[in-house]
Amino acid sequence: MRMAQAVIATGLPATTRRARRSWRGWGFVGPFMAVFGLVFLAPIAYSLYLSLFRQQLVGGNAFVGIENYQRALGDAQLWAAFGRVALFLAVQVPIMLGIALLVALAIDGGRLYGASFFRISIFLPYAVPAVVATLMWGFMYGTRFGLVGNIEDALGVALPDPLAPDLVLASIGNIVTWEFVGYNMLIFYSALRVIPTTLYEAAEIDGAGPWRVITAIKLPAIRGAMVVATIFSIIGSFQLFNEPAILQNLAPNAITTHFTPNMYAYSLSFSGQQYNYSATVALIMGLLTMVVAYVVQLRGMRKEA
């Protein structure tokens, strides 16, 4: 501060300052953008290039134009996988965000005993790696030494196997919900905390009850946070990989190598050596994700106006 005041007294020609302002910002942004170019832009460009070629046994890469894309459009396995994550998105994301929102409102409302204990404990699963979360839940799902087996023994009933083919998607949904309810709750909660008190005072003068405060003040105020949380969840759903891939050891019959689009792209590359087609699948999924995320953002923002 002392330096600052001293400097204001001396002053410098404005022109010098403006001239110096021009390029030096790159000195700070440059390192990020250089690495960004290497790990984001270059791979995208490279996969665009790959998607236009085909690896041949003889003669190396051959240019095939949009052939890989045509194959992808007619690929039943890819679209089955896409349908699976779309279903996942339609069911799991609303449940997860709904629970997160209710908990955030409950904690923010000041009517809970031990609110900060709730906040920290419910957030804690976010610190657990997906691998550990999946292993834990996978063990608990299991009938060997899992809780499902325990309950069956204790009650003498036969429960449906959570790792059976028709239930495994729901079981994965439960794992993902467990991991991210607290994270989303915290995003909502943080947005709720910065609502100015004057709004509540005004509402109280108007005689608004708690529900009215929630619907008329709180929910509109955190719409931005809800859009962001929704977009992150959409991206996460389309990228679904870790949980099903790790659960595969425990449920090999229920989870195929093309269970989700990402698993499909992975197995195309690393089991099938079909790098060109794998890059095409990855690009198509990336594009679809961006389109859906963009639409959600536009809709979310429009309601705002």
Partner: protein
């Protein structure tokens, strides 16, 4: 675009170093709305308690079962202790099994976290500061590209990145895990919004007129003001690298370079392979050891990530 709430930054400026959660005029702790403070509700507490139990049960299961031997894991009730209390031997066995490969994985993970998350934080901090405090040609393009990149699924990049890295001879080396970890668009965005509020432009102008170089201005004036934001970004990049699974799965073949996440999964998969020894007690104890440092970090540094998230919470 979205505007970020400046509250934590402003509060940070007011008090200097720490990151108080809220600015004056915003509720803090118990709500101060009007006269009556809302009555606490048992019903609501119980209802929220259901979610709490749901969140904690798997962790309780993990702690309880880390105390069981491989034998008593089977055929005992999962949510209560059973058989000999074997936590000590489990931990010892986890650390020494297969010539102490778990310790090797732990050190690898630390390397990836220190280099990857540390580097990502450094790049995000200087980059965010540059975007917030300088106007330069191409600034808008940088903004558009980085925001667009947030929507690109990371895994969509993984396969082409692997192919690129394998041509460069980087796969199966620590670099293949560290380099992609260096970029955190979310961290950059967080630092950018934080820096635009936490560092007064007049202060920078003054320092420049005094003849201080940009680097010196940054290091001596801006960096201390950015501290709360830096800790937040560091925490989130730490979690991302500590928990990373997909990237090392693709890049690494040699178990000697595995991080903990890959190692644990390979232990678990071992039971399924022909002739493989089932070591579920080690998988469970290893899982517990893997999450402890992060849980501790989160509990100890609560105030920071909460203020950081508040900075990231978007308002229109």
């Amino acid at each position: 675009m979205t505007v970020v709430d400046p509250a934590p930054a402003r509060a940070a400026r007011a008090t200097g170093r720490t990151a108080p959660r809220l600015r004056p005029g915003v509720r803090e702790g118990a709500p101060r709305r009007g006269t009556a403070r809302p009555r606490r509700s048992v019903l609501l507490t119980v209802a929220t308690g259901v979610v709490l139990v749901y969140s904690l049960i798997p962790l309780a299961w993990l702690v309880i079962n880390a105390t069981k031997t491989q034998g008593s894991l089977f055929g005992s009730f999962g949510l209560w202790f059973s058989g000999p209390f074997a936590l000590g031997t489990n931990v010892a066995e986890t650390l020494t099994y297969d010539d102490g490969v778990f310790v090797r994985w732990l050190l690898n993970t630390l390397l990836y976290v220190v280099a990857g998350a540390g580097g990502a934080t450094a790049l995000a901090v200087i980059g965010g500061y540059g975007l917030a405090k300088f106007s330069f040609p191409g600034r808008r393009a940088v903004f558009a590209i980085v925001i667009g990149a947030v929507a690109v699924p990371g895994t969509a990049l993984a396969v082409p990145t692997f192919l690129m890295f394998s041509r460069m001879g980087l796969t199966n080396t620590p670099w293949s895990v560290i380099i992609p970890s260096l970029i955190s668009p979310f961290g950059l965005y967080l630092m950018w919004t934080f820096a635009s509020e936490a560092v007064p432009t007049e202060l920078l102008e003054a320092a420049r007129m005094d003849g201080a170089s940009e680097l010196r201005t940054f290091a001596q004036i801006s960096l201390p003001l950015l501290a709360p934001g830096i800790v937040t970004v560091l925490l989130f990049t730490m979690v991302a690298t500590w928990n990373n699974y997909f990237l090392p799965l693709i890049m690494l073949r040699d178990p000697d370079w595995y991080p903990l996440t890959l190692g644990l999964n390979s232990w678990n998969a071992q039971a399924a392979t022909a002739g493989g020894e089932a070591i579920f007690n080690l998988v469970i104890t290893g899982s517990l050891l893997t999450i402890l440092p992060l849980v501790a970090a989160f509990l100890l540094l609560q105030r920071y990530w909460q203020s950081g998230l508040a900075a990231g919470s978007v308002k229109e």
